[in-house]
């Protein structure tokens, strides 16, 4: 085994980045069906809202789970690698996510997703993954990345979005007017949140806090709110949210209850982004028609009309666009078939038959929208016409 030219062995040199240096074999995550999938929670909020404090707390807290935290997300993605911090049973260590840029071209999965899957393939699965977005980010596109089709067989799934707000400054941020008339980031972050943490509560008086909660609920009436000081929340508040779980029928029932409560007790001060709920009168005869209505609303950003082809409808200007940021619904098709759950965030939506649970709620269904320029009456009429 000994070679006689050991003397000729040159010293290794550091690797040079060239186009022909092959990168390591990256096997796809083990997509064996039936195996446990790992939830990904997106944590968003402005600089100063306490995101980092929350995530550091999660990273150092003692618990029996293996939680991975990715700070400051994938950004512009010219990085080849990204640090990921892991808290395993209270011990903190770091790993590296290898982000390949090649072959992105016709890949359905984002390279950030693949990087996480590859890491879990090598180092074992986490129990949870938390992903922090940068402060001024619009969390919508990131949600889209992680809300993958089941058929892609990914080991990870989008569990929910947690937004932190700074009690003192958030009201200001919400009022921010953008040059192009688009919805500002603070409002978006609240609108698509499933959990909202109002941080630094000690800085507000009781009446100020009450007003703030009112404002936030006005935008998003379905998210669960909690108030904290110094980002201290129970881990249970940010984990196992199941916001995109199509089997969570009861979750939606609870949420629509909240909307009704809110609508009945509060008047919206300023109609920019708000939550509306449309109650359906009767079971849906043609589910495909409903789907086209949703597509038209979501993608053409108009109140759907029956006198024009679906694909020929456009909003006249960006400000007039009906922008749906979040959509949830449950509908009953005619003929005693399984109820259908609808989920949507930004442009993405999905409709799937809900398993089992026969809700005591006898109704034909409801649709919840969070967005801008949503006029409940117009939408109700449009839907009625469309379905008839």
């Amino acid at each position: 085994m000994q070679s006689d030219d050991f003397d000729d062995i040159p010293d290794l040199i550091p690797v040079i980045e060239t186009s022909t240096v092959p990168k390591p074999p990256t096997e796809p995550a083990n997509n064996s069906d039936g195996q446990k999938k790992i939830p990904v929670t997106i944590v968003t909020g402005f600089l100063g809202s306490g995101k980092t404090t929350l995530l550091n707390y999660i990273l150092t807290e003692k618990h029996e789970k293996k939680i991975a935290v990715i700070l400051n997300e994938f950004g512009e993605s010219s990085d080849i690698e990204k640090a990921l911090s892991i808290n395993e049973d209270g011990a903190l260590y770091e790993e590296w996510l290898e982000l390949r840029n090649g072959c992105l071209c016709c890949s359905v999965k984002d390279n950030g997703v693949k990087a996480i899957e590859n890491l879990m393939e090598k180092r074992g699965k986490f129990d949870y993954v938390l992903l922090e977005t940068s402060g001024l980010a619009d969390p919508g596109p990131i949600a889209s990345i992680f809300w993958m089709d089941d058929d892609l067989g990914s080991d990870i799934y989008l569990d929910g979005i947690v937004t932190l707000v700074d009690a003192k400054y958030i009201s200001q941020h919400i009022k921010d007017k953008k040059d192009d008339g688009a919805i500002n980031e603070a409002t978006k972050q609240i609108a698509i949140a499933d959990r909202i943490i109002i941080n630094k509560k000690d800085l507000l008086s009781e009446s100020e806090m009450s007003e703030l909660e009112n404002t936030i609920s006005g935008i998003n009436s379905v998210a669960t709110l909690v108030q904290t000081e110094r980002s201290r929340v129970s881990l249970d508040f940010v984990l196992d949210i199941h916001a995109y779980d199509i089997t969570d029928v009861n979750g939606l029932a609870l949420q629509s209850q909240k909307i009704n409560e809110h609508a009945s007790t509060h008047v919206h001060p300023d109609k920019t982004v708000e939550t509306i709920c449309i109650q359906l009168d009767e079971p849906i005869r043609d589910v495909d028609l409903l789907e086209r209505w949703i597509q038209t609303l979501l993608w053409e950003k108009v109140v759907p009309r029956t006198d024009k082809q679906q694909y020929q409808q456009h909003a006249s200007s960006e400000e007039e666009q009906v922008v749906v940021l979040r959509l949830k619904g449950i509908i009953t098709p005619q003929g005693g078939k399984e109820r259908i759950i609808i989920q949507g965030v930004q442009d993405l939506y999905d409709m799937q038959a809900a398993g089992g649970s026969d809700s005591t709620d006898d109704d034909a269904g409801k649709l919840v929208f969070i967005g801008r320029n949503l006029v409940k009456v117009d939408l109700e009429q449009s839907l009625k016409k469309w379905l008839s």
């Binding site: 290794l12 997509n31 590296w96 016709c106 999965k109 442009d347």
Partner: protein, 356 residues
């Protein structure tokens, strides 16, 4: 001036460490992939490794001898030096530094471009060229020809038409087309392997002409191919045809996946999930994303003026993919074969026009 590349792996047998060091002799001889984690591993591998140095002309090797390939196919290196494109031919942005800046700028954007009459004409031109080049490349397919030779022919035909071969340097891709043989699903890199009787090979050609990209591919038989292989190829073609048959304004992009998956399943095959069709115009790859499987959340409906590809990959066994260490070649995880067909399509007022 050395940039650390922490993602390379140590080439020593049974070592899984990441490698930040490289053999200096290999670097001098432009032999790629000789990465090791330590001088120790390097010493242990020296006996076999030094055989790579000073390879006489005509000697070939497998650049990843320790890789667990899923099927019989092996890469045959060395690759020939990067082919050049004459100065006068306009280049896409990625020709410069490998990065398609235009695409990155639109990343995450689901808005689909609507092309005007002028732009549509440009697409017709580039797609005609692309189709011609594919036919020329395909004509060279026969046992004994290496995929390098086909790449040279494709490259030559492309530049003769004053076009730039889009794949060249796209994210640092080293060649001018993709040649995917047998168990390779897509993005196979042309190398020194001679085609063998019985192979099936997909040739994927894309050209950039006067500011626009065209993209097409087809799977061909090398000599006599067995019945199962022919059925696979026919099915892949039929899947594409089935999807195109239903394309017209108002149809949602998510529909094609169902049509493709249904036909493939009916014929006893599976359809690849990981790769999709895409919008194509001034960008090589843009919105929309067109998945080839049934339950997908593709955004958008077809509207007149949209240009996009559908490119189903159909497999004998599993649809799951495994990437070779070259970071491009995607093979099936069970080593069974895969076939593909692709067209660039234009949505017209009344239906669809196949541009390639």
């Amino acid at each position: 001036n050395f940039i650390e590349m922490p993602t390379a792996l140590c080439q020593a047998l049974n070592c899984e460490n990441t490698a930040k060091l490289e053999c200096p002799t290999c670097v001098k001889q432009t032999i790629s992939g000789s990465t090791f984690c330590s001088q120790d591993c390097f010493k242990k591998s020296w006996g076999a490794h030094k055989a790579l140095h000073n390879l006489p002309e005509g000697v070939t090797y497998d650049p990843f001898p320790n890789f667990k390939y899923t099927g019989p196919l092996r890469p045959v290196y060395p690759l020939t030096p990067t082919r050049s494109v004459p100065e006068h031919i306009p280049r896409p942005d990625h020709a410069e530094d490998g990065t398609p800046h235009g695409e990155l700028a639109e990343r995450g954007d689901t808005n689909i471009r609507v092309l005007n009459a002028e732009e549509i004409e440009a697409m017709r031109k580039v797609c005609k060229i692309t189709k011609e080049v594919l036919d020329i490349g395909a004509a060279a397919i026969r046992p004994g020809v290496t995929t390098e030779e086909i790449d040279a022919i494709v490259h030559q035909a492309t530049i003769e038409r004053n076009a730039y071969p889009s794949p060249l340097n796209y994210w640092n891709y080293p060649k001018s087309c993709c040649t995917s043989i047998n168990e390779v699903i897509c993005h196979g890199i042309p190398d020194q392997r001679p085609l063998q009787e019985g192979d099936i090979i997909n040739l994927d050609v894309s050209c950039y002409f006067e500011g626009f990209h065209g993209d097409t591919n087809a799977t061909y038989c090398v000599g006599n191919v067995d019945e199962a292989g022919k059925k696979l190829i026919d099915t892949a073609r039929e899947c594409l045809e089935a999807a195109i048959a239903q394309a017209k304004p108002g149809v949602p992009y998510r529909r094609f996946g169902r049509l493709i998956e249904e036909h493939a399943t009916k014929m006893g095959f599976t359809t690849v999930r990981a790769f999709c069709g895409h919008g194509i115009h001034e960008l090589f790859h843009g919105a929309p994303t067109v998945p080839h499987y049934a339950n997908n959340k593709a955004v958008g409906v077809l509207k007149p003026g949209h240009c996009f590809t559908i490119e189903p990959m159909i497999c004998e066994g599993t649809h799951k993919e495994l990437m070779w260490p070259d970071q491009w070649t995607a093979t099936t995880t069970d080593g069974k074969r895969s076939a593909q067909f692709e067209h660039t399509l234009l949505v017209t007022e009344t239906g669809i026009e196949i541009l390639t």
